[in-house]
């Protein structure tokens, strides 16, 4: 007999195998998921979930696909959260502190309660990356927020109404486009290709019989 636990899905009690994830438990209970289920592997943020263990006051957040069920778990899924996403033209904005002031001024209303960090399903230091964004330190904001899956739980807990994942998204794009060092070898290669440098070589490869290609492939030199 499998080891079973009792969980409460949206308040309703079900008995499910203890080995399951929350997502697995919902399906075991009979749910055919549409919302609240995406990559099933912790990368997409579709299955943000809030839970509380019976008898415990603390409200916890997790990804349903990444979290095993526990006895007495009260589970509420958060398949959508209305984040504020400002629109901007990446070609026209610049990586200055003012851009945050213009697009996401609410970050300056942060009261330092740290509820965002405590609720992060990825265990990120959310309040810290918002602090970096406030200062216009986009490189650090990008690094600190990098593993964000944009599930939105942090924002659901924020008394200042900050849409943390969108602030971080902007910071990462600014960092990737404007602040990170340029790759000279990349620009050179794009130019070479535009100049047709490799065309003849490639066309000769494309014209070779398979037997000759096999020879070339089986004896190619492999970089250590």
């Amino acid at each position: 007999m499998e080891n079973m636990v009792h969980v409460f899905l949206m308040g309703k009690r079900y008995e499910v195998p203890a080995s399951l994830t929350i997502m697995g438990a919902m399906e075991y209970a009979g749910y055919q998921l549409i919302r609240g289920c995406g990559c099933r592997n912790g990368f997409c943020g579709a299955c943000a979930t809030i839970y509380r263990i019976q008898g415990d006051r603390e409200l916890k957040a997790c990804l349903a696909c990444q979290t095993q069920v526990q006895e007495g778990m009260y589970i509420a899924t958060l398949p959508f959260f209305p984040l504020v996403k400002q629109v901007y033209d990446m070609e026209k904005i610049s990586p200055t502190q003012q851009i945050m002031m213009q697009l996401y001024p609410e970050i300056y209303s942060c009261i330092g309660c740290n509820a965002c960090t405590k609720s992060c399903t990825q265990g990120l230091n959310v309040m810290q990356y918002i602090a970096y964004a406030q200062r216009g330190d986009f490189a650090r904001c990008a690094e600190e927020s990098f593993d964000c899956v944009m599930c939105g739980v942090c924002s659901s807990r924020c008394p200042a109404g900050i849409s943390h994942p969108q602030v971080a998204m902007l910071a990462r794009r600014l960092n990737g486009k404007y602040l990170a060092p340029k790759s000279a070898h990349l620009a050179d290669r794009v130019q070479e290709i535009q100049n047709g440098t490799f065309q003849e070589l490639l066309e000769s490869l494309m014209g070779k019989p398979i037997s000759e290609m096999q020879e070339l492939y089986n004896h190619r030199d492999i970089e250590k």
Partner: protein
């Protein structure tokens, strides 16, 4: 977390770690690889394939599960559908909200077309989001598009369509540049040099990455760009049939609101199918690394509309799916783990193969180790071999894992496995659809005008096996070009009356052939709800 039996085996892995870490196992010869694949690769397994009786690929074999869907019943009766009052009217209709669809949307928008995206889940719920390891491009001085071509052509068993592969490798550096200019963060040295590694079957280090969130970083950036441009995205809305016009061209789709069941009609001048892969069909009972919606819908839609499939009988089983614990069974363990130095080790602590053979060869080799050779580790749920992750820190120094593969560290830490200290158990998982719809070099389906296909739904770019990092690349290269070309063709297309007669004709052909597979298709989502 590990069982007694696993810990016993792990002692042998630990004891041999130092020796195994510096060992350079011999690569297999072409003959050895051929024999291995024929004996152990699932693509060669008899009895798992069916011959199509109807449609453009009649007489060819495809996986049994796919055959049932390709020859399944439509979700609509064309006679019930009123095409005269479309709910949406656009130039370019993009079906699918992953990396290929988003890239197509951005470029079609750039080209001045009216464009809209429909996706059955959310924008970004796609295999792109889950691609961990990286994206290839020959942009280093010791590399060239020609070497990239040879690696991919050989790795794909010399079956790729040369004109498509040519485009993949020559447009790769520009694809990286385009992504970087959109703000995608790549791992770089302080001087801007891209940090690149090997993948299985590469002869140069050309794998660009954003830690082990490479696909997620690309996808969230593309999605952000689509939203910034105000391109309409209709989410939780699946395409359930293509609509053609009386000239036989693709001209829209019948849509289904996944939540309310409402049917809607989208009329367009051109259609881009960017519906992705098929992992959730669980071919041969394999677990999958794919996202929830990977059910080959585009192949079904395209096939009914007359588009031909290419290499639909070849699937990619990623050698390293998580084999343990069961909560993450089948989840992807990125190839980058091996790029960074971890080796595959059997129950006796032996490094039984070179860790960077191509994926098909690696998967077959692991299956052999776990079956005929009897050198696998029992997981309670099957078998697996060790992937010795602590080697990474032994070779690259402490902190390498946290810096380069944080997602892997996190995924196992949730089950109290510290991959810096303990190896992990892996077994092949269904990962990628090598085949798909046949396209010409402009991205148009070879048999259906005005139907473009991009991303994993395409067949022929990679041949019969794909190298790591060439899929994130192909969704960008062919997604962008599908968007550009679909916009251009749309501008030159005069609308004609719409029709679903191809659906009637296909259903009539099924009747005539006496085929009833008992399923309706496209499948849209897997059925995981327990039936009581």
């Amino acid at each position: 977390m590990y069982t007694e039996q696993m810990l016993e085996s792990m002692k042998k892995v630990e004891a041999a770690r130092e020796k195994n870490a510096t060992l350079e196992p011999r690569r297999m010869t072409a003959e050895e690889k051929d024999a291995l694949l024929k004996t152990y690769h699932p693509d060669y397994k008899e009895g798992e394939f069916a011959i199509l009786q109807v449609g453009p690929n009649k007489g060819e074999k495809v996986p049994t599960e796919l055959a049932a869907l390709l020859q399944g019943r439509s979700r609509i009766r064309p006679a019930d559908i009123d095409l005269s009052h479309p709910d949406y009217d656009t130039d370019v209709l993009i079906i699918g909200g992953g990396g290929a669809g988003a890239s197509a949307a951005i470029e079609a928008d750039n080209a001045g077309a009216r464009v809209m995206v429909v996706t059955k889940l959310r924008m970004g719920d796609a295999n792109t989001m889950m691609a961990e390891g990286g994206i290839q491009a020959a942009d280093k001085p010791n590399d060239s598009p020609a070497i990239h071509y040879l690696d991919a052509f050989g790795g794909g068993h010399f079956a790729a369509k040369p004109e498509l592969l040519y485009r993949l490798v020559t447009e790769a550096p520009e694809a990286i540049q385009w992504l970087n200019d959109l703000g995608v963060e790549f791992d770089k040295e302080a001087d801007g040099t891209m940090i690149t590694t090997h993948g299985g079957g590469t002869s140069r280090k050309r794998m660009h990455a954003a830690k082990d969130y490479s696909g997620a970083e690309i996808m969230r950036t593309l999605r952000d760009e689509v939203l910034n441009r105000g391109i309409p995205v209709v989410d939780f809305t699946a395409a359930i049939e293509l609509i053609k016009d009386e000239a036989g061209r693709a001209a829209g789709a019948v849509l289904l609101n996944m939540e309310t069941g409402e049917r809607l009609i989208a009329r367009a001048k051109t259609v881009v199918l960017a519906t992705g892969g098929a992992g959730r069909l669980h071919y041969q009972g394999f677990p999958t690394s794919n996202h929830y919606g990977a059910t080959a819908d585009g192949l079904i839609l395209g096939y009914r509309a007359g588009a031909k499939l290419l290499y639909a009988d070849t699937l990619q089983y990623h050698p390293t799916g998580a084999a343990y614990p069961e909560q993450i069974f089948g989840a992807l363990v990125t190839e980058k783990v091996r790029s960074l130095g971890a080796k595959l080790i059997n129950v006796d602590g032996e490094a039984f193969m070179h860790p960077l053979e191509t994926r098909d060869v690696s998967a077959a080799s692991i299956i052999r180790e776990c079956s005929d050779r009897g050198k696998g580790v029992s997981t309670g749920n099957g078998m697996g071999v060790w992937l010795d992750t602590p080697m990474i820190e032994l070779l690259g120094g402490e902190g390498t894992i946290e810096k380069r593969i944080p997602a892997m560290l996190r995924m196992f830490a949730k089950y109290d496995i510290d991959i810096r200290k303990e190896p992990i158990l892996v077994y092949p998982t269904l990962h990628y659809q090598n085949g798909g719809l046949d396209i010409d070099k402009t991205g148009m389906a070879t048999q259906v005008e005005n139907l473009y296909v991009a991303g994993e739904a395409v067949g022929g770019i990679h041949g019969r096996n794909r190298l790591m990092g060439n899929s994130l690349l192909d969704i960008i290269v062919f997604g962008r070009s599908a968007g550009r070309n679909a916009a251009k063709t749309a501008a030159a297309t005069e609308s004609a009356p719409l029709t679903l007669s191809h659906v009637d004709a296909f259903m009539a052909a099924l009747d005539e052939a006496g085929i009833d597979t008992g399923v309706v298709s496209p499948k849209l989502l897997p059925n995981y709800a327990r039936k009581k």
